[in-house]
Amino acid sequence: MLTDGKAMADVSRRALIKATGAIGATMLPTALAIDAGSAQEHDHASPAPSNPPAAAAVPPQARGTTYLFFNNEEAAFIEAAVARLIPKDEQWAGALEAGVPNYIDKQLGGAWGAGERLYRSGPWQPGAPSQGYQLPFTPAELFRTALAAINKDLAQRPFAEMSPDEQDNYLKRLEAGGKDLGGVPSDVLFAHLLACTLEGFFSDPVYGGNRDMVSWRMIGFPGAYASYYDLVDQHGIKINRPPMSLAEHADGHIRVNPGIPAHSP
């Protein structure tokens, strides 16, 4: 039975990779999360994990992010805001094109958003900066509360309709603090938004951001896997290989010595 089960798993993994080969195995998680159907339509295109971000040329709306947490107004703010925090430039995609809104949406809708690893018992009182976060809001509650206040504040002129300069000025006002967003100090919201944007831009694509590993190619980070034993003393060597995502090595272990024991003690 075990053998049968393993064989089935292998077959289905191959089928999955084949099905998503169009946009590269690197795109597997986001492709599945976003639009598995369209991935299959391009089954005969050549895999291109190392190409410049073809995806960046596609308008973000066309990427078909399915929001599970954000409502439309919230999503509109988040999309416009992350595009200012990490903008697109002539060479590299920005946070919006990299799927950061999708990343934040999935984080807030999941365990982290619900307060995983956040001690949540009272009594509650404001602390010194050295004592860290002391609000009763979970991350999901914090974003929901603050975004509602922002969208109410900007009801006449939604953030997404502002010019880039106006958007930057509004974000700077949030960052500076002093603005109350339904009980969330605006600098606290901003710090969460910026941290999540950086996470979504730099984390492994399995989490739904960093599409095509764009940030890793931008800075030259080779990704989740590596065996640098032979390279570490080749000082100053330029690494040109495309980065690798966790999703690419679902079946692989990197070992110096194939005889490494692979048993539980």
């Binding site: 200012r84 995983e116 001690y119 860290g132 730099f202 800075i219 060597i237 966790l246 090595h249 003690p265």
Partner: protein, 592 residues
């Protein structure tokens, strides 16, 4: 109602570094030993394997391997005039959870404390005079360990060979060795393995410090420079420099941890029993309160048990050792107002910081090609390796280029003055990511009567027991020390060829919102006087002689180095006394 279990000889509270090491030593004598671990069981295979183990978001950012702070947090304040509040997310320090404890997610930075660390007060008074300490800070409560380096040397040696430490000796029996650390305490023989390959950032650091006349050496590492079989017959493999070491478990069998160097030998012994997902609530005392009868714990399903034992070893993370003593009523809690009491006294930490050195774009640093202990470093400003007589502070820091990774959520340096976001930030990250070197400062933490641990009056854990309260700020002495060395680091950064050097160094107030170190120490310190120590020189509780509190909670103050190897040596030292003295005649090993 707790179910009473069959009595055993020994119970360990926690199965990490000290718990697994002590259990193996005692199981070898034939005693029935039970290990109670609050976390889950986990092993290199299948739990630490790819792809899951190389996940920066899960392990580095979300702290998947750390103590479940939703169940058991720590509260914190900078001084006793403030109200302590829960550290609601771990950041400054990261106590591990799960079988193997913090010794799974450590980096493998493997130093011995120095000779003067162990008789620190005596040493300072002899070198600088009796009034010097008080001039550095009247609040400082520095004291001797009541164990000497020479007594510990065989145990250091044994622990290094257990772990397969890779390094280059600097001092063998008093003879200075070329290529090693000339400030190293004398060792009986070479390290078990040669040093790790030198990284590019290490080589650039070496070149810079040599120009300045300092003494570079390769950082001793419990990540292997070559395959190694340890004295327990367990095999370690060569480190591949994957860049996922601290905050992670090693998938390659290349880092010393309980899972690689201790547990396989321990778990095959029929007289050892491991119980995971078991939270110890307290040590039980008899009516005299001078003898422990065992422990009470709760298993994963919530069922409560009483485990009688002849000998109880507290082998948790240092902060949890102190809390266990307080919850059990062992030893008098420290009172900072009167300076009396001992449990919680002399809590210390680590002074860290360092410079960020921005290099020319032609220098590909490749920080992701790294291990947990890849540094090239100097000890010219470590401990008391330099003359403090005109400086107005005690203590010191090692300086090293120790970049353990290039994981981009954590590491995307930009020069001072760069905006925190926007196009300019993005361009700066792109420009500097692979052309920046971190140079670390890492040093002593001086004990002060103002810094201590006790039970929080308000906040409770998941079982309704008070959580630990930490009252801590860096003494001014330690700030002066760290800032003095920060200047030296800037000079080094320039000598390395840095175009821009961002100065570091420790500042007040201590904050829990930024990672600094997981070397929490003290609170149940060792010494010769029960008025200023919780345990004697063998880490045996003065008040309850069949309880030993093992690990860094016994450090009277913290030395400059990363402390795991010194914990290992101290544990072997205590176990030697338990096996050869205590078991033959149970009772106090030192008369108060």
């Amino acid at each position: 109602m707790a179910q009473r279990l069959k009595p055993v000889d020994v119970v360990t509270i926690g199965v990490g570094l000290t718990g697994s090491l002590a259990a193996l030593e005692l199981a070898k004598t034939g005693l029935k030993v039970v290990g109670l671990e609050r976390g889950a069981p986990r092993f290199t295979v299948p739990d630490f394997q790819s792809p899951a183990i190389h996940d920066e978001l899960r392990f580095s950012i979300r702290k998947a391997m750390m103590q479940d702070n939703v169940k058991v947090p720590v509260t914190f304040r900078n001084n006793s005039d403030e109200t302590a509040l829960p550290i609601r997310r771990w950041e400054s320090f990261l106590p591990g959870q799960g079988l193997g404890g913090s010794f799974v997610h450590w980096n493998g930075q493997s130093f011995r404390f120095q000779v003067a660390d162990f008789n620190y007060k005596t040493h300072i008074e002899q070198r600088y005079g009796k009034t010097f300490l008080n001039a550095c800070g009247p609040e400082l409560t520095v004291q001797d360990w009541d164990v000497t380096y020479d007594e510990l040397e065989p145990h250091f040696d044994r622990f290094e060979y257990l772990c397969g430490v890779s390094g280059k000796a600097g001092n063998i029996k008093g003879q200075i060795q070329p290529g090693g650390n000339p400030f190293e305490a004398p060792r009986a023989r070479e390290y078990p393995n040669p040093p790790m390959k030198e990284t590019y950032f290490g080589a650039l650091f070496r070149k810079g410090v040599e120009q300045l006349g300092y003494h570079p050496y390769p950082q001793p590492s419990a990540n292997m420079s070559r395959p190694y079989r340890n004295p327990e017959g367990l095999d370690l493999q060569q480190c591949v420099f994957c860049g996922f070491c601290e905050r992670y478990a090693c998938e390659h069998f290349a880092k010393a941890s309980p899972q690689t160097v201790i547990l396989p030998a321990l778990l095959k012994r029929p007289n050892y029993e491991l119980r995971t997902n078991c939270e110890v609530l307290r040590i039980n005392l008899d009516s005299t309160r001078k003898k422990a009868t065992g422990v009470t714990y709760v298993d994963g399903s919530g069922a409560e048990y009483e485990q009688p034992a002849e000998l109880v070893l507290i082998t948790a993370f240092p902060l949890n050792n102190v809390r266990t003593l307080l919850l059990s009523g062992i030893g008098e809690p420290y009172d900072p107002k009167t300076g009396t009491g001992v449990v919680g006294r002399n809590y210390t930490y680590q002074t860290t910081g360092g410079a960020t050195v921005f290099m020319d774009e032609s220098i590909n640093v490749n920080p992701f090609m790294s291990s947990g202990a890849p540094g090239t470093m100097i000890d010219d400003f470590g401990g008391d390796n330099f003359d403090h007589s005109q400086l107005g502070f005690i203590g010191g820091q090692y300086i090293g280029s120790i970049m353990t990774n290039g994981r981009p959520i954590e590491f995307h340096p930009t020069p001072p003055g760069t905006p925190k976001w926007g196009l300019e930030w993005k361009r700066a990250v792109t420009r500097h990511y692979n052309h920046t070197i971190a140079v670390q400062q890492h040093g002593t933490s001086t004990a002060s009567r103002l810094n201590y641990l006790d039970l929080d009056p308000t906040y409770k854990d998941a079982w309704g027991q008070p959580v630990l309260r930490m009252t801590f700020d860096f003494p001014e002495n330690d700030i002066r020390m760290s800032q003095y060395i920060a200047d030296k680091v800037v000079e080094i950064g320039r000598a390395m060829g840095g175009k821009i050097v961002a100065r570091g160094g420790t500042k007040r107030p201590y904050t829990t919102t930024q990672y600094q170190s997981t070397h929490n120490a003290g609170g149940a310190v060792m010494g010769s006087d029960p008025k200023t120590s919780v345990v004697n020189r063998y880490q045996q509780c003065w008040d309850v002689p069949n309880v030993f509190s093992l690990g860094a909670s016994a450090f009277p103050q913290n030395g400059a180095y990363n402390y795991s190897v010194t914990i290992g040596a101290l544990t072997y030292w205590a176990l030697d006394a338990i096996k050869n003295k205590y078991l033959k005649a149970p009772g106090p090993l030192v008369q108060a």
